[in-house]
């Protein structure tokens, strides 16, 4: 889910562009099938984290809302904290 928000921080994208971005960014470590991506986009639309920006033919574009940008920032801070805690753990 985090990667979907990350994909949209650089501007609006359609579903296949989001999937291609994640594939490239995570180097295949985060598989994103169309069913999973469609469900996540639906959840984000419902939660107001993203909005539809255009419909070109059958394609739909999505962009982050202010609420989505804030959620992305919070999640990024949480993950940074997790990594920091793990790295400063003396018994690792």
């Amino acid at each position: 889910m985090f990667y979907v928000l990350m994909a949209l921080t650089g501007g609006e994208k359609c579903g296949t562009e989001i999937s291609a971005y994640i594939e490239e960014k995570a180097a295949g470590a985060v598989p994103m099938g169309p069913g999973t991506l469609y469900t996540i986009l639906g959840r984000f639309l419902e939660g107001g984290l993203i909005q539809e920006t255009y419909t070109a033919g059958r394609r739909k574009g999505y962009a982050l809302t202010e609420q989505g940008r804030a959620a992305y920032g919070r999640e990024l801070a949480r993950l940074r904290r997790c990594v920091h805690d793990a790295e400063t753990e003396p018994h690792r």
Binding site: P34, G35, T36, T39
Partner: protein, 244 residues
């Protein structure tokens, strides 16, 4: 040259239908369209297959909406955004079958539609909820007709009793079918919760399942037709009809 024909889709068990379709494709028969074999069709056991197709992988994606009726045109198609997303990742929409959208792919490298258990479970839970509601409504109908049969027990009027018993049998048979759908959807959900996202599962090609499904699907309609025919014959032959 493509040969098209209507074939028997023998499984009500949707968890296994996917594997069966892929085995049929390996034998040269490719699913093309649902024909009468959609969710609520009168002929729910048949679908169109072609020889000479390309798809080798099939995936059944649970429908999220509950629209539909006896007529196929009423069953919602996946929205265009969904179709485009699947197409962009290698999956082509084919038809709807038993409350699922059927997507196919000739590309063995196309990603699985559901790549995490969380979203797969969310989709399957909607099928389980929908089927449970159907089951309750059928059980309610059965209870209603059992009550009506009880009320009519003392009557000897054939025209009064025959429709009640026919409808009771009709709803009982459909309840068995819906119960089976509910059970298989629940099983698929349990598998998804354990991390099995339905890429591949075996199937049992047992004759009793094949013919049992066909019989259960066709029998309620035959009973209703029979009931109308008998009631009509009784009316024609009796003095109930006013003949000037």
């Amino acid at each position: 040259m493509k040969t098209k024909c209507m074939r028997y889709v023998h499984l009500y068990d949707t968890a296994q239908l996917q594997a069966w379709l892929e085995d049929q494709a390996a034998r040269g028969w490719y699913l093309e369209d649902a024909g009468g074999g959609n969710t609520y069709g009168i002929l729910p056991c048949f679908a169109y297959f072609i020889r000479g197709g390309e798809a080798a992988r099939y995936r059944l994606i649970p429908m999220r909406t509950e629209g539909g009726g006896i007529l196929r045109a009423n069953i919602p198609e996946p929205d265009q955004g969904m179709q485009e997303l699947y197409k962009g990742l290698g999956w082509q929409y084919l038809c709807n079958l038993r409350g699922y959208y059927v997507f196919s792919s000739a590309d063995s490298a196309a990603p699985e539609p559901f790549t995490d258990a969380d979203t797969a479970c969310e989709a399957l839970e909607s099928v389980v909820r929908m089927t449970r509601r159907w089951l309750y409504s059928y059980l309610f109908s059965v209870a209603l007709f059992v009550y009506a049969a009880g009320l009519s027990a003392g009557r000897t009027d054939f025209l009064f009793q025959w429709p009640i018993w026919s409808w009771l049998l009709f709803y009982l048979l459909f309840t068995v079918l819906v119960l089976r759908r509910y059970w298989t959807a629940k099983q698929r959900l349990d598998l998804a919760r354990q991390g099995d996202l339905g890429e591949r599962s075996g199937y049992r090609d047992a004759w009793y399942l094949r013919w049992g499904d066909l019989l259960l699907s066709v029998m309620p309609w035959l009973i209703l037709l029979g009931a109308f025919a008998v009631a009509w014959a009784e009316l024609i032959g009796s003095h109930h009809i006013y003949r000037p």
